[in-house]
């Protein structure tokens, strides 16, 4: 409870949490909230590129679709991509980090060297190349991003595990004959959870951003997906006159990523003892 009250005093983090809740809410209930849910795919050639008005708060796009609705509907795709990517990256990265941190021999060394190789790869370029390799689609973008994001988790978990390996409770567990997987997953992992959660929260925001870049470059989401990055790319043809077409999807990206990052920072301040001292 103390922690929660402390969190509430951190205004930016609270704002972040509110934004994240909003994005999650829109992702779940979007189709019921959006004024024109059918505009996810339908087109209305007779009301193209209308400026913002009461009927269309964010205006309409090149196919006459309500941008406000499509911004709302885009939340689900953005969240889905980021959850899958971060989930997959954790599924690869966390076990590797545990093994590498607990082990002392060549295996640990090998895992960490491979991790280093992947860390040195320019993520965006690799993701673009992979998306090209598999044919541009949301699925290949998700796979590409997961394949480039897992090393971050390996690094964190490795560091935490290596620190905890020599802790008294691990010695005790080994003493009473607990198996290695048991020690790793039931005892060490929970203790390493806070940095993982922090990293994952920031990773969710970061993934939304990179997925938007892929969509923008035509290597991610495909039409008629109400994807935010794709919408900005499509809007360029109609600038400078149809300024609303480019503006609102971009603001949606900004807001969503901002929310996850603020929340992640707030969480980090809560769990990082060094920063806790400095307050």
């Amino acid at each position: 409870m103390l922690v929660f009250r402390k969190f509430l005093r951190d205004i930016p983090a609270v704002i972040g949490a509110a934004i994240v809740l909003l994005v999650v809410f829109l992702a779940i209930f979007g189709p019921w909230i959006a004024p024109y849910p059918q505009d996810a795919s339908a087109s209305h050639l007779l009301r193209r590129l209308r400026p913002p008005s009461l009927d269309f708060p964010f205006g309409t796009d090149n196919l006459g679709r309500d941008i406000f609705s499509r911004v709302i509907l885009g939340a689900r795709g953005a969240l889905k991509v980021s959850l899958v990517v971060v989930g997959l990256a954790m599924a690869i990265g966390v076990p590797l980090g545990l093994i590498a941190g607990y082990n002392r021999g060549w295996l640990s060394e090998a895992i960490m060297r491979v991790t280093d190789v992947f860390l040195a790869l320019p993520q965006l370029i690799l993701a673009l190349a992979l998306a090209q390799l598999m044919g541009p689609s949301v699925e290949s973008a998700m796979l590409a991003l997961s394949l480039t994001y897992w090393p971050f988790f390996t690094r964190i978990v490795h560091a935490e595990t290596a620190r905890l390996r020599n802790a008294l409770f691990v010695d005790a567990l080994q003493g009473i004959g607990a198996g290695t997987p048991r020690i790793l997953f039931l005892h060490i992992l929970p203790n390493a959870l806070s940095p993982i959660i922090v990293r994952a929260t920031i990773g969710l925001g970061f993934t939304i951003l990179v997925a938007a870049v892929l969509g923008f470059l035509g290597m991610g989401a495909t039409p008629p997906d109400p994807d935010w990055g794709l919408a900005v790319a499509q809007s360029r043809t109609y600038l400078p006159n149809a300024w609303w077409f480019a503006t609102f999807p971009g603001l949606a990206i900004l807001l969503a990523v901002l929310g996850f990052n603020l929340l992640g920072d707030g969480l980090r301040d809560l769990v990082d003892p060094r920063l806790r001292r400095s307050r």
Binding site: S41, A42, S43, L45, L46, R48, L49, N62, L63, Q132, G135, P136, S137, G218, M219, T222, P223, P224, Q234, R236, T237, Y238, L239, P240, N241
Partner: protein, 527 residues
């Protein structure tokens, strides 16, 4: 001390921001092009729309297409003769033509250029490789070039302008490891054209400068205020080029303007849109080799389900002409009586039923590949998607790139169900359209990616190719086209109106379907 530093910073900032207020005072004599430069500057290695935008200015050919409709005019050649069987061709060259370095252009340069095209075997060679051997191109004297063809080839003269004539001595001096000077010429120039490449001005795919060549053989008497210098500055997106046009920093965009840009440009006082009916067809491809598209009734259902008029009037704002067949309407060899397919969902439903009766599974979802860089392909696909939905066909849109699609079209198994593209004018001859699109000998190239196979059509197209006289060839192409349309091999949508944004500083724009109006010699520049 601190204040002084701040002042300095403020001054620097002011200096940066306080350039000429409205962007750019145009430089006298200079025009800026935002359409892309070719992949390589060697006109014998690349042959596409950007290359024509360069080579029509830096190089000359024996003949040249000009005006609209395109007329084939003698250019470096004064005249030609052909034997009755179409095997022997003789071209007489104009006297006194000089290359940019001052060397005289002779028949030897022409022979070298054609042999070089054959030896390199790249894009411009495809029209000549089957009919021409290096030794059968000869120069009996300095002003005469002879070609002896292996067999008669109808489109031979039509394809002659494809080959740019290069300065043989200059290129030969730069040959390395027997590469025919390919490495050197891809970033240098050895031509005689009206504009000369400025040495050292090239950053590939970014910038390139051309300077007017006062000694061009056509002279400049007909142009009182020609463009002195051309700065090619590639804008990656057409939209950037349009923005530049509107703020005065760019004078000339590519000719694929999205129609939505037209009004925007027309409303700015700085620029206008040049609109010209061209020979560039817009096609929705169907993979005839694969189910369900191997059924003609299914294909006909598809053809009746595309909203042609809606697409042309609403999305393209009328800047396109409905073209019901594979050949551009204005071209000879296009049958004037074939009606083609109209937007009619009832007919479409009837054909779906007919296809179902023939055992076609119309429930299976089909995929259409669009070129994600080209918004129009996306718009067409989305329009198609919503109409197909109403007749119970599930169309999925796949964003793809030119490079990927072209690779996939090598085999019917990997080729997409459907995809969307244009066929531009590489040479003005039916061979450029139906010939290379529906003759099964071209299966494996992107142009023939519907994998249509009809022995009757193959025979007609083969015969037309082997004849020389247009009067004899035209009925064969018409007949073949009618058959292809009856079989509904693809969905033919429109013939392009080319739209190019041009600054009002430029006048006397002369359009030609081959090259899309990129010949700059005519242009007059004020200021």
């Amino acid at each position: 001390m601190r204040i002084t530093r701040r002042d300095t910073a403020a001054l620097a900032f002011a200096a940066l921001m306080a350039g000429p207020m409205r962007g750019h005072a145009a430089t006298p004599g200079l025009m800026v092009r935002s359409d892309g430069q070719p992949q390589s500057l060697d006109p014998h290695q690349v042959f596409d729309v950007p290359m024509m935008g360069y080579s029509l200015n830096a190089y000359d050919g024996l003949y040249r297409y000009q005006d609209n409709p395109a007329v084939l005019r003698p250019w470096l050649a004064e005249s030609h003769t052909a034997s009755a069987d179409g095997l022997d061709w003789e071209f007489k060259l104009r006297a006194g033509v000089k290359f940019h370095d001052g060397t005289a252009l002779t028949a030897d340069d022409v022979v070298y250029s054609f042999r070089r095209v054959l030896a390199l075997g790249k894009a411009p060679a495809s029209a000549f490789l089957p009919i021409l051997k290096p030794d059968s191109i000869t120069a009996p004297d300095a002003q005469t070039v002879r070609f002896k063809l292996e067999r008669a080839y109808g489109p031979f003269l039509a394809a002659i302008p494809i080959v740019a004539i290069v300065n043989a001595k200059l290129v030969q001096a730069n040959v390395k490891d027997g590469d025919h000077g390919a490495a050197w010429l891809s970033s240098n120039e050895a031509g005689s054209g009206a504009y000369a490449f400025v040495a050292g001005s090239l950053t590939p795919a970014e910038r390139l400068d051309l300077q007017r060549f006062a000694g061009h053989f056509m002279g400049w008497a007909d142009n009182p205020s020609p463009v002195e210098r051309v700065a090619m500055r590639t804008a990656r997106e057409t939209s950037t080029g349009v923005l530049g046009l509107m703020n005065g920093s760019i004078d000339w965009t590519d000719s694929y303007l999205p129609t939505d840009q037209v009004e925007q440009i027309q409303s700015s006082r700085a620029a206008r849109v040049e609109k010209h009916s061209s020979l560039r067809t817009f096609i929705i491809r169907m993979n005839n080799a694969r189910a369900p598209f191997n059924n003609a009734n299914y294909r006909r259902a598809m053809a009746h389900a595309f909203n042609y008029d809606g697409f042309i009037t609403e999305i393209l704002k009328g800047y396109a002409d409905r073209n019901t067949g594979p050949m551009p309407n204005p071209l000879w060899g296009a049958p004037k009586d074939a009606a083609g397919y109209s937007y009619d969902l009832d007919k479409a439903r009837a054909f779906v039923k007919a296809a179902q009766a023939e055992g076609v599974n119309t429930r299976q979802p089909i995929r259409i590949h669009i070129q994600s860089q080209l918004e129009q392909t996306n718009q067409a696909a989305q329009l198609f998607q919503s109409d197909l939905q109403s007749i119970g066909i599930n169309l999925r849109i796949v964003a793809d790139t030119w490079a990927n699609i072209v690779t996939a079209t090598a085999k019917p198994e990997t080729s997409p169900d459907m995809w969307i593209h244009w066929v531009s004018t590489y040479f003005v001859d039916p061979e450029n359209w139906v010939g290379q699109m529906y003759d099964s000998r071209f299966h494996g190239t992107w142009k023939a990616s519907s994998f249509y196979k009809n022995p009757e059509v193959d025979a007609l197209l083969g015969r037309a190719r082997d004849l020389v006289r247009q009067e004899e060839r035209a009925p064969l192409y018409e007949q073949a086209t009618r058959k292809i349309m009856e079989d509904c091999a693809d969905i033919w949508v429109y013939n392009t109106v080319e739209l190019r944004g041009v600054s009002n500083r430029l006048s006397n724009y002369r359009f030609c379907p081959a090259g899309g109006g990129a010949e700059l010699r005519w242009l007059q520049l004020k200021g």
